[in-house]
């Protein structure tokens, strides 16, 4: 009788469309969320423990990809993001299993979360050619001018992904950033990074250009300060700073002020920062947080 050798997946980073190991060579143990009866945590996998240099490489990749992604037509970006939802649907079983393990949910709840995450991509994909009409437009001015405001992407956005909601939360913070033409460096949930790597695999196989979304797994407290102070990062989403070990989001905001980054604070106030509930259908606030407004004055002739 032949016994088959297990083929286990190596969970790596996702940088510039490739899946490299951490340059530091480190990895860390990821365990399943406790589900009650077990006393010892169940081992899931070794994930790459990204370093500041991985984050730096990811910023370089994101910067390189940004003009091309922002230059694609809104229609095209919408199509590409819809494709992500299609690919996720095809990998549903894997996503459900990883969300179950990560968040300790029942099968039915995990199915629901994955469905919501896929629907969230579709929801944001649909906005790609519509938000400029909602957030921009013709301004009435007291003079013979057309005065037009148009939203434009901010550039490279660092995203601290939510610590608890490992897939739905992740999609809910990444999709609004990239739909407008930003590129991003995502620091995945520290203790629940595997769904983020699953998502990276979906992105890698769905026409999203390499470098548009980069995923670094590891210790949030180690990586986040370098992204917050990085001068080639134009904005930072601090959602995942809530409930992260050893992270004070106010420090990150101070570091981010050095190059006038746009900062999206975590939910709640002050030290009471909490992770928002990602289940309800969102509004445009996350999308509009990472936009700049370009206003053009044009003489009105006869």
């Amino acid at each position: 009788m032949s016994t088959r050798v297990d083929v286990r997946k190596t969970y790596k980073l996702y940088i510039g469309g490739k899946f490299p190991r951490s340059e530091s060579g480190r990895s860390y143990e990821v365990t399943a969320a406790p589900t009650g009866r077990r006393s010892t945590p169940r081992f899931l996998a070794n994930a790459a423990q990204g370093s500041r240099k991985d984050a730096r490489d990811a910023v370089v990749a994101a910067r390189k990809a940004q003009p091309g992604w922002a230059g694609a037509t809104a229609y095209n970006r919408g199509q590409v993001l819809y494709r992500v939802a299609e690919v996720m649907e095809g990998r549903r079983a894997q996503l459900v299993q990883d969300v179950r393990d990560a968040e300790g949910l029942t099968a039915a709840r995990a199915e629901g979360v994955v469905s919501a995450a896929i629907d969230r991509w579709v929801w944001y994909a649909g906005w790609s050619d519509k938000y400029p009409q909602v957030l921009g437009g013709l301004n009435p001015v007291a003079g013979p001018y057309f005065d037009i405001s148009a939203p434009e992407p901010t550039g490279v956005v660092a995203v601290l992904a939510p610590q608890a909601s490992s897939l739905l939360g992740l999609v809910s913070v990444v999709a609004p950033v990239v739909v407008s033409g930003n590129t991003c460096v995502v620091v995945a949930s520290q203790d629940r990074p595997l769904p983020a790597i699953d998502l990276a695999e979906c992105l890698a196989t769905s026409d999203v250009p390499g470098g548009v979304v980069n995923v670094v797994t590891g210790r949030t407290a180690e990586i986040a300060p370098w992204l917050a102070s990085h001068r080639d990062v134009n904005a930072i989403d601090l959602t995942g700073a809530a409930d992260a070990d050893g992270v004070d989001w106010a420090d990150l905001e101070i570091a981010a002020a050095d190059n006038l980054k746009r900062v999206l604070r975590p939910g709640g106030t002050g030290a009471e920062a909490v992770e928002p509930d990602f289940a309800p259908v969102p509004d445009l606030s996350r999308l509009s947080a990472f936009l700049e407004t370009k206003t053009v004055w044009h003489p009105k002739g006869r």
Binding site: V59, R63, W226, S229, H230, R231, V233, A255, N259
Partner: protein
Amino acid sequence: MTGPRQRPYTRRVSTATDVDVTARARDLLGVSRLTNSALTGWLHGLPGVDQVGCEARAAGLSTRSIKTSSKAWAIDLAISMIDLTTLEGADTPGKVRGLATRALVPDPTAPDTPSPAAVCVYGDMVGIAKETLGDSGVKVAAVATAFPSGRASRAVKLADTRDAVAAGADEIDMVIDRGAFLAGDYLSVFREIAETKEACGDARLKVIMETGELVTYDNVRRASWLSMLAGGDFVKTSTGKISPAATLPVTLTMLEAVRDWHDLTGEQVGVKPAGGIRTSKDAIRYLVTVHEIAGEAWLDNHWFRFGASSLLNDLVLQRQRMATGAYSGADYVADDAPSAY
């Protein structure tokens, strides 16, 4: 590595300029008349380069980790070794002035940043670069001898050189006639270098091998020895117009050649890799190689240069990173390729 197998040479000489290179070459080769066959015998008598060993050595030297204060020192040294280069058909006086200004003030936010060694331009732009640089100490290097192909008559090449020197060039970057070299006409290459050196007057002569066209490391070694024999002050890898341009193994081969030449004649010759060196990490790898192969005497911008343009920005970014503790970005350095309009 050893020198040529011919008769040992004992006379010590200071610089190539004070000696008749042909007489010295005869002396070195141990012949009464410098012929192509004598040169061929001598150059082909050089030991062959072990390709695998050379590449492994270069790869090994690339893995050295240079940190903190050593890195800061290396970054400043590398900046001071740059020949800040623009060699485009579309070079405008404005672009050359911009580049020269950049050489004077590489980073306006950090006035203590050292200046690059030289600005490298086409011969007709020397005057414009000189106007801006004045007596700042930043030199003007001009490419000459029908750069980059080197396909012109000897008279035209020499006129090209004299023209650049007359315009005030401190250094001349010449290209060798690769066609003649590959055809085995070493004497013609020798004469051309020697005559160009004469046309240079006080200007230092860098001899570009265009190693991407020479194909083998053996050829790189032979071309380096031939250039030094003919009186070149620098051996330079590439024009930057051909790929592959400078690589670490090629530079390593050249560094071995200048080291052995120094052992043989007592005369020091510089090395300049050019083209394709874009990051601080690359530059530091080269510096490690210089130190390990040629020695500390070459860790000076009189003896080692980088032919580069975008390298300066990356070094400045690294410098800012070390000064501020935060990663810097392209918004904080001068635009590498400003629009011509």
